[in-house]
Each structure stands twice: as structure tokens, then as C-alpha cells.
Amino acid sequence: MEGSRVSVVLRLLWRRLDALEKIVRDREGAKLAVIAGFVVLFGLVMAGEYFVFRQGLAEVLSIGPPSAALTLYILEAFLALVLVISVVSFVATGLWTFYRASDTAFLLSTPVPLADLFWLRTAETFLLTSWAFVLLGVPAFLALGASHDGGPLFYLWALIILVLFMVLAGALGTLLTALAGIAFRRYRARTATLLATVILAGAFALLIGRHVVPSPVDFYLIFEPGIPNGKPASLKFIEHRFWFWPSHPLAVSLFAGVRVSTAGSGALAAAAWVLPALALVAAGVIGRRLFAATLPIVTEGPGIAARPGARRAAAGAAFPRFLRGPVGAVIERDLVTLGRSPHELGRAGFIVFLLALYTAILFVAPLADALEQPETVARLFFLDLMAVGYFVTAFGIRFVFPSLSLEGRGAWILFAAPLSLGRLFLGKLLAYSTILGLAVGPIALGGALRLVTFPALLGVFGLLLALLIVTTVTVSLAFGVLWPNFSEANAERLATSGGGLATIVLCLGYVAVVGWLGGECVRSVLAGGSVLAYLAAAVALSAAIVAGAIAAARRRFETLEIP
């Protein structure tokens, strides 16, 4: 019975991979190129992370005795951060895949047991959200081994820890998804996703702010030389600091694998094995029961179980309510449909959450001494612009690039209407730029304020940020017009198409150049020079890209057809 159950889940999972298998089997050149492009891109990102981690850990090693405590702190903080990203991502995605997946109604009409459906949804959500382990975890673990001359046994041990960590994160994500599902079962789907994501993200941000990001006082303790009761005070302090994080036993076990140290204990080593297993059992027993209790309620009505007598949105209200003219009406429709799609809203919120998390870390990090050095300020300014540009690109590729393709089977409505597509393009450019500016601008400027206090440099950051936003939105919109796919309704698949890959490559390349120009502006200002040449270069580059993208989109509109 159990064997057949596993086979049903695997068979259903395999159906999801059919498309990929077909591409490989039929040797679909264009799609294979896209997949290869993404593999190369991910490889480059992972290689970059590996070198940064290895260099950083080697620097830490070079400082002598306190390096052990600092390495443990880095491992604890890193695993806690990846755990938070994985769990929040799991819940935000899981509330959709567990309760709102398009094939749920079909599967419920088949003799597939609810328990199998639960495991299927768990596996699907895990596969969708496990990118953090691969992208962040693997390079970090490899760098740890390389910087500490770890032998084959260490890498084997690191692999075991990584698997245990993935099990732990997946099980906690499943449990929290099931809890959020039952807690918010009477809410509309978008409210439920938003509430769960905001509560979890807020709670984790608070925990990370209070326990993970070190304060200057923490550094004094980390460098504390005392060894009371045979264990360095610094290690005791770190263990005390992280004892309630589920990732703690794993961090200490990984640390013990690479450093001969007195950190941890036998009980903690056992906890590294027991905790993931317990979490998995809890997810299986409690999560499955909660899922079975929630799913029928959710599938009965629209959203995550509509409240009896719940008022339908905006009954009798005129449309459009806020914006005027044909272009305004289309933009208001975009906003209204985004607001009514919990999945999309959750994704947008997650990107903003990650930016806010990054900015919070920037704010509480002990940078006071480092910011005394002009060269360090310039480098951090460059990196900050790169980071903000990365978030802007993530938003552009996920929400702006697919906006034309997502008209999908409803594209006839716009294309048969007396609507100027050129004006619609410019209207969307203005609207998305404004939204991004409002969502990202204050957070990014807050982060910049931590690095520079000169009004002139804040002005430079503001200008470069505005250029980043407008150029990224223009490129995303234009490439969406150049490579539309009206038969694909999944924004994530659209974002990972050939056009999406081209958008990512161009935008990130542009972000790197603007970041470098920003760094040069800082060097120039702190040396008493002028920034005009650098700003003029940034404006000229952005204008050239924007003009080229708009011209290409306009030409494409002249030949575009709606199937």
C-alpha cells in the first residue's frame, strides 16, 4: 500500500517534469539554449559566491585565535538566514500550491487519497522553493572546506548537514503552511497569503535583527579571550545566542567538522539528526491532518473559504475609479487584478521583504569603523547599488516583462480596441516606474543613508536609483513586447524564457556599470572632485538603452499578431 502511495506521488510529480523531459527528448534547440543559459548564469552566481565566501573565510582565519568564534558566528548567522528565506518562501508559495493549485479539483475527483495529495504538494513546494539551498548553501559549504583545507570526509559531512538542513527547512515550511492554512481558512486567499507572509516575515526579521546581526558589543564578546570551564567565552556566548534557532545544532556540527574545537556537545550533535527527523514526523502527522481539515473548506468556495455572506468586491462600483482614459483604465485593471491575486501579491511582497531585510542588515551591521575609509565607502556604495539593482531587476523580470504575454487569451480586448499601443507602452512605463519607485525608493534610500550622509552623494544615489528603475522597467517592457508568448499563463515560466534570460543579462550588466559609476562618484566626492562626468555617463547610457528599447518595441508593435 505504502509502495503504491509513493508511486502515485512520484508519478504525479513526474508529470510536472514532462515538459522538461520533452525539451531534452525532442532536442528543442531554443529552449535547450535557455536552460543552458540559466545553468551558466546560476553557475556564475554560485562561483562568485564561492570566491567571496572563500576570501572572507580566509581573511577571518588570518586574524588568529578569535577566528574560531567568528567562523562559528558566520555559520550560525548564515544558516539562520537561509532557513528564514526558505521557510518564508515555502509558506508564501505553499499557501498557493497546497490549497489553490489549478489541478486540485481534478485530483480531488480521482481516487488519489488526501494523504498522497499532501505529500505531492509538499514535494512540489519544496522543489519550487529549494533554490536557496543550492544557490546559497552549496558555494558556502564548499568555500568553508576550501578555506579550512577540509578533506573528503569534511565534504561528505557537509553534504549530510546540507541534506539534514533541507529536510528541516522543508518540514518546518510544511508545518507552518498547514498552520497558516487552517488559521486563515476563513479568509480570502489573498488576505491569507498576505497575512501569513507579513506575520512570518515580520517575526523572522525581528529575530534576525535581535539575534543574528551582530552589534559592536557582540564583537567585543566574540574577541573575548577567557576560557572558563574549558570552553572559550566567545563560543559560549555564540551558542547561547543561537540556542533556540532550529539551525543551531547543524551549524555547530558543521563547525565541528571543520575546526577542532570545544563547541557543542554530544547532545547537540544528536540534535542535528533528531531535530530534522522530528520536524519531518511533525509535518507528516500534524501537517497532514491540518491539510485534510483545511482543503475541503478552501475548495468549497472562491478564495481561501469565503466567509458566509461575504460581500463581493466593489459591488456596483464604476470602473475605472481612479485613472482616466483608455491607458489609465488598462493600468487600473493591472493594479486591480494584481491586488486580487494572492500568489502575485505574495511574490511582490517577498521581493520587497528581501530588500527590506537586506537594508535592515545594512543598518545594524557594525560598519562604523569601516565607513571611516573612503575606499570602503566607495566599494559599499557600489555593492549597495548592485544589490538594489538586483531587486529592481527581479521585480522587472517577474512582473513587468510578462505583462504583455499575460494578456493571454484576453489579448483580443486590447488589440481590437482603438487603443494606441505606443501610448499604452509609455503609460505602463510610467506606472511601473512609479510603483517601483514608491516600493523600493524609500527602503533603498534608507540603506544609502547608512553608507553616506553627504547630501550630494545621497542625491547621486537617488538619481542613479531613478535611472536604474526607469531603464530596467523599459527594458523589461520592451523585451516582453519583442518576445511575447500569449499561450503561457504562468509568469514564472515567462520570466525564465529566452526573452526573460536576455532581459536579466542586459539589466544586470547595466546595473553593474551604473554601480561602478556610483562608486566612482563617491571616490570623486570624497577626494573633493566633481561627479558630473560620471553622472553624465550614467544618464547617457540609460538614455541610449531606453531609446533603443522603445524603438525596438514600437517596430515590433507594427508586426505583432494576436493568435
Binding site: 472562491p302 466593489a314 470602473f319 499578431e561
Partner: protein
């Protein structure tokens, strides 16, 4: 066959469409006069939907012209589309909007200003008694209600030409009768309609002229009497005439 301003409301002039090596529509020429309902019939793959999509501006003709009330659709698309009401074969509308919001959006796209917009929406919703469903999200509509919504949306801006791909598929009998009367009334008030359909009984009831399209070419055209004369079948229904003409031209 001309409008008061001297133009037919629809004129296709040697219209062609090629998809790769395949010629879907070949040098199609036809006119629809004010007050006239023209039905385009033909087997699957004969080029009916391709023709309709070119008239609606969704496909670009490979050659030839679409003129709506004398306005070249290729040269002045916004002016030409402003006179056109289009109902597709698959009435897909935005799922996360209510029916009333969707009609408001379409009215805004066609620049129907307030308070005319609200008055027209209420008036049209009454046509199919859709008022009760109008504030529910379209994702919960039946296929028939989506079709009704698409029909109402096409009439919001009081178009002069109606282009409809399969007008009554998915409608219940009562709504199909209402749609038939709606199209007739539209033509009686001076509008023109080009219907593209496989429902030959419906075409026989409403159309003034019929065009038979096979393999992208217009092979027969005329009113029922003319088609019967040409077929030598004086009492034949449109269905019998269709079978007669299509069997006479095996593909």
C-alpha cells in the same frame, strides 16, 4: 451597397493572409452594406476566423486592405477600430474582474464618457438579465455568461459594424433567440454585421447574404434565393446548400 457617406461599412479588398507556406486566405474581396447582415460559412480551416481576426486588427494581412466605413484599418487603425464591435469565438475575459468592471474597462477603451458609460452598461446588462451576476468575478461565470458579456461589451460604444465569430455557441436557447433579435435590430438601425458561424439554422434566420469560404477562397456568395438558383435546389435549406456546394468542391 454604400453607406450614406458613400462607403460600404465593410470592404475587404483582395485580402490575403499567409502563415509560412500556407495561404490561409486568398485575395478575398467582399462588401457589407449598411443594414446588412452577412454570414461567412465554410468548413473548419477554411479561413473564416483568420478573416475575422484581420478585420478586428488582430492579424496583419499579407496583402490587400480592410476598409471600415471607408477608413483603411492598416493606415488608421484607431479610427477604424472605433467603429467596430468584435466578438471572438472564444469569449475569454479577465478573470479577476467583475462583469460590470469589465464593461467599464471596455467603455473606457472606446472612450465612452460618463454618465453615458454607466447608463449604457445598465441598459445592456438588462438585455440578458445579467445584473445579478455583474458584480461577481468573471472566473465564476459559465461559458454562456462570458459569451453574453463579450456580446454586451461589443455593443457598448454603439459601433457601426459588428464582427462576430460564432455568435451563439454556449448560449442557452432563450439567450440565442435574444442574440438573434439583437443582431437583427442592430441591422435595422443601420448597422452592418459580419457573422462567421457553423450554426447554419441561425445564419439562415438572420443573414441577408451568405458567403461560402473554402480553402481561403470565396467560392459562392449571394442571398438564399440566388444560392438556391445556382444550386438548382429551389426549396433547399442553407444546410442543404452548404452540403451541395462543399461536396461539389472536394478538397
Amino acid at each position: 451597397m454604400a453607406a450614406p457617406d458613400g462607403h460600404p461599412l465593410l470592404r475587404l479588398d483582395r485580402l490575403s493572409k499567409r502563415f509560412g507556406d500556407r495561404l490561409a486566405v486568398e485575395a478575398l474581396t467582399l462588401e457589407v452594406a449598411p443594414g446588412e447582415i452577412y454570414c461567412l460559412i465554410g468548413p473548419n480551416g477554411s479561413g473564416k476566423t483568420t478573416t475575422v481576426k484581420m478585420i478586428a486588427g488582430l492579424y496583419r494581412p499579407t496583402a490587400g486592405q480592410v476598409l471600415i466605413a471607408g477608413i483603411d484599418l492598416g493606415a488608421e487603425p484607431e479610427r477604424a477600430k472605433g467603429l467596430l464591435g468584435y466578438i471572438p469565438d472564444e469569449p475569454f475575459v479577465y478573470e479577476k474582474m467583475t462583469g460590470r468592471e469589465f464593461l467599464g474597462l471596455v467603455a473606457a477603451l472606446y472612450r465612452v464618457a460618463e454618465p453615458e458609460r454607466t447608463r449604457r452598461i445598465e441598459e445592456l446588462l438588462d438585455l440578458y438579465a445579467l445584473g445579478a451576476a455583474a458584480d461577481g468575478y468573471v472566473e465564476h461565470y459559465s461559458r454562456g455568461n462570458r459569451q453574453k458579456l463579450a456580446i454586451l461589451a461589443s455593443l457598448l460604444h454603439a459601433p457601426r459594424l459588428l464582427v462576430v465569430d460564432e455568435p451563439i455557441v454556449g448560449l442557452d436557447p432563450e439567450s440565442a433567440i435574444k442574440t438573434r433579435d439583437l443582431v437583427r435590430r442592430f441591422a435595422e438601425m443601420g448597422g452592418s454585421a459580419l457573422l462567421c458561424t457553423h450554426t447554419l439554422a441561425f445564419a439562415e434566420q438572420v443573414c441577408h447574404r451568405v458567403g461560402l469560404l473554402t480553402e481561403g477562397r470565396l467560392v459562392e456568395e449571394g442571398d438564399l434565393a440566388a444560392l438556391r438558383r445556382r444550386a438548382g435546389l429551389p426549396d433547399a435549406s442553407l444546410e442543404a446548400l452548404y452540403l451541395h456546394f462543399t461536396k461539389a468542391r472536394p478538397s
